[in-house]
């Protein structure tokens, strides 16, 4: 079953919420680190090429602030891309230090300011990339500290440089792990939320369907059957009472047909997917719904409703008729296997059109032998769809070769 129905809206994504929080925390931490590094920036100005210090410090301490400012308007993908870009820029700054460090060595206890703030880049890397890539970046960023320190102090204390590398790995690992776990937790919340939403939609749809059935059952029982029975039993269809009763029934049916339920005029494609998912699960649980393509524009609710109804009728037809006939002496186990029918529903979305195909590999039938008044195909599928503007439906079937019902709509 497709999980496209379970897509949470980006605005309410927990994963995006986590990334935004970490982006804000990162910005606050950057400000703090900038304050702590300021004296080092001034002190170390004389050891590197002119202007490098300004450009590097602006990039490392300025970009996280810009990221935090942009975060509320960024999508998850965009925000992760920006964090990845920052991690790359940070690495380039650290590596460029080797090129611009021209007036060393630095006296003890000075150390290049870039080596004490590695976590500022490893956290964005964890936000941007897969965990494996983030861990590789972390190790690489920590390892580069050793040569930086060795070159900076003229190899005065190689052992200490190595110790700092190990220390940096352990410290950065804490933040990287927390970031990865937090994002994963956000992702899990998004999945669970979408599942809960789909479940709620399904439950609400099922309840509404049952309620509507009960209402229509009452109408059929009280009005329609009563009218038909009165006309047939009394034998005086021209009697004013029966005629009035029939008129009232027709009016009631017409009112119901025209009454718009509290449904929006247009619905979003993800709602169509969710409703189709519910219908497919409800009618034929083992049936796979495959969704391809993408569509942002909404779909007229009347079209969506008719398409869902037609899909539901196609599946019901398949359930009723697709199982092959068996010889009377077929063993129960073999019968179960022989009557198994594979069904699949394909939904293709595009900016111009919506196409649905309901297929089974059952016994099929001869289209020419279907009576004109047969409800399933004639009324609920072809009749209902073909009258809608831009909509079309077709049925293909052959004895022994299964059935394919195609339903489509274009703008």
């Amino acid at each position: 079953m497709t999980d496209r129905a379970a897509d949470a809206p980006a605005a309410a994504s927990a994963e995006l919420g986590v990334v935004r929080v970490i982006t804000a925390v990162l910005a606050a931490t950057t400000v703090l680190f900038f304050a702590l590094t300021l004296s080092a920036l001034v002190e170390q100005y004389r050891f590197v090429m002119p202007y490098w210090q300004v450009i590097a410090a602006s990039a490392i301490f300025g970009l996280p602030l810009m990221l935090a400012a942009a975060a509320p308007w960024c999508t998850l993908r965009a925000l992760r891309f920006l964090h990845g870009t920052y991690a790359v820029i940070f690495a380039l700054v650290v590596l460029s230090w080797f090129l611009v460090f021209t007036d060393g060595p630095m006296p003890t206890p000075l150390e290049p300011w870039t080596v004490g703030i590695t976590a500022l880049s490893t956290v964005p890397a964890a936000l941007a990339w897969r965990p494996a890539a983030a861990w590789v970046y972390l190790v690489a960023s920590s390892v580069v500290i050793a040569p930086t320190r060795i070159i900076a102090d003229g190899a005065a204390d190689v052992s200490l440089a190595a110790q700092f590398t190990i220390f940096t790995v352990t410290i950065c690992a804490v933040f990287t792990a927390a970031t990865i776990v937090a994002m994963s937790a956000g992702r899990q919340v998004d999945i669970a939320t979408a599942a809960a939403r789909t479940s709620s939609m399904r439950a609400a749809a099922l309840t509404a369907q049952v309620e509507e059935q009960a209402q229509l059952d009452a109408l059929v029982h009280d009005e329609v059957i009563g009218t038909i029975f009165a006309a047939a039993g009394a034998g005086r269809s021209d009697s004013s009472t029966t005629r009035v009763q029939a008129e009232r029934t027709l009016t009631r049916l017409s009112e119901l047909r025209d009454a718009a339920a509290d449904i929006p005029a247009i619905i979003q494609p993800n709602k169509l997917i969710a409703s189709l998912t519910a219908v497919v699960t409800e009618i034929a649980d083992a049936t796979a719904l495959t969704v391809t393509g993408e569509r942002q524009a909404p779909i007229p609710a009347a079209i969506a409703s008719a398409v869902i109804e037609a899909t539901s009728e196609a599946l019901r037809n398949s359930r009723r008729h697709a199982a092959p006939d068996l010889a009377p002496d077929t063993a129960p186990g073999a019968a179960l296997k022989a009557t198994r029918v594979e069904r699949a529903v394909f939904l293709h979305l595009s900016p111009e059109r919506v196409e649905i195909s309901v297929r089974d590999d059952g016994r099929g039938f001869d289209l020419d032998s279907v009576p004109a008044n047969r409800l399933g195909i004639a009324v609920s599928i072809l009749g209902r769809i073909d009258v809608l503007p831009g909509a079309h439906a077709s049925v293909w079937s052959r004895p022994g070769q299964g059935t394919r019902v195609s339903i489509g709509w274009h703008e």
Partner: protein, 340 residues
């Protein structure tokens, strides 16, 4: 009407009580202990370093033993006490800076963990206590007050990150919870409306196809013939079937039932299984013998009944006319159809 919804889950602080988090903690402890022992030349008394490393071992042990997402007050107090005690013991022990002052960073990291485990206030109290000890030590020296202040300031980001993160996640979780609740209610209402409209349109089309023309003729005052009245009675019976035996409302069944009724057979279709759904395979095993029985009947009564779910039989088919016959359709698992 929505009578059942599933509550969306909350976004909460990531759980850092699992094996991975413990592994990281012990990895850090091993590393920092090694670095502390490598810096013994920079301290006055190695014994204090050994004792401090031991105390921190206890601190991490206590922290990792508490598996609750929100650390208990007892654990927090123990962790803070251990960190402050280490600062008291070790602050005067270091001759120079560097890794000989490892305990300040380790204490800050412990407070970071307390923040992530929902203990922001205690984390800041603990860090402040460590800071007071360090500044106190700085004041007690001739020229190391600035070193103490910088040392504390450089570790502050740990606690700041922890507390900002936990506050941010909690606020985001609350905000998302409200958004999700409203969105779920909205999509559920829309799904209900869509399902209601779909079901209504389906039934109305079917109804119109079955009896629409009859109703219009009656409303128009058209004189009915005997054949018309017979048709009406059959149509009325079909409508009753659609109410009493929704799952038997299959085109072939409808056709066979109507033919039988036209021959004068009384047909009774009953669905005692609803609202449970009969599996399509089982239904097709009911449909075929039912059609055969209906087509064979010439008088009397044919009763086709879907039985309540959970019974060994799916349906019973009884023809009681010139001849009596009864067919039992078994549920799919035990055995196939049998007749007597």
């Amino acid at each position: 009407m929505i009578n059942r919804t599933t509550s969306p889950p909350w976004l909460e602080l990531p759980e850092i009580t699992g094996r991975g988090a413990h592994l990281l903690i012990w990895f850090y402890y091993a590393t920092i202990s090694m670095l502390a022992l490598l810096a013994l030349d920079d301290v006055r008394s190695p014994a204090i370093v050994y004792a401090s490393v031991g105390i921190f071992g206890v601190v991490w042990f206590v922290l990792t033993q508490d598996s609750a997402v929100r650390a208990s007050t007892g654990v927090c107090v123990a962790v803070i006490t251990g960190c402050v005690l280490t600062a008291l013991l070790s602050s005067g022990n270091s001759i120079t800076g560097g890794f000989s002052q490892w305990y300040v960073g380790a204490g800050a990291l412990a407070m970071f963990y307390l923040s992530l485990r929902g203990r922001n206030l205690l984390a800041w109290i603990g860090f402040s206590a460590i800071a007071v000890v360090m500044v106190g030590w700085g004041l007690s020296t001739d020229d190391r007050l600035l070193e103490a202040i910088i040392l504390v300031a450089r570790q502050a980001p740990f606690v700041l990150v922890g507390s900002l993160f936990s506050v941010g996640i909690r606020r985001t979780g609350k905000k998302l919870e409200g958004v999700h609740r409203a969105e779920t209610a909205r999509v559920a209402a829309e799904a209900a409306a869509l399902a209601r409209t779909t079901e209504r349109q389906r039934r109305l089309w079917a109804l119109d196809s079955a009896v629409g023309s009859h109703l219009r003729r009656i409303a128009n005052g058209v004189e009915l013939t005997d054949d018309d009245r017979r048709e009406l009675l059959v149509a009325e019976a079909r409508l009753r079937d659609s109410l009493r035996a929704r799952q038997l409302d299959l085109p072939e069944m409808i056709a066979s039932t109507e033919r039988a009724r036209h021959r004068g057979v009384t047909v009774l279709l009953l669905d005692d299984c609803s609202p449970a759904v009969v599996a399509s395979e089982a239904l097709s095993r009911v449909r075929d013998p039912a059609i055969r029985m209906l087509d064979a009947a010439v008088d009397g009564t044919v009763t086709i009944r879907l039985l309540p779910a959970g019974r060994p039989l799916v349906a019973t088919l009884v023809a009681d006319g010139a001849e009596y016959s009864r067919v039992e359709v078994a549920s799919p698992t035990p055995k196939g159809p049998s007749s007597q």
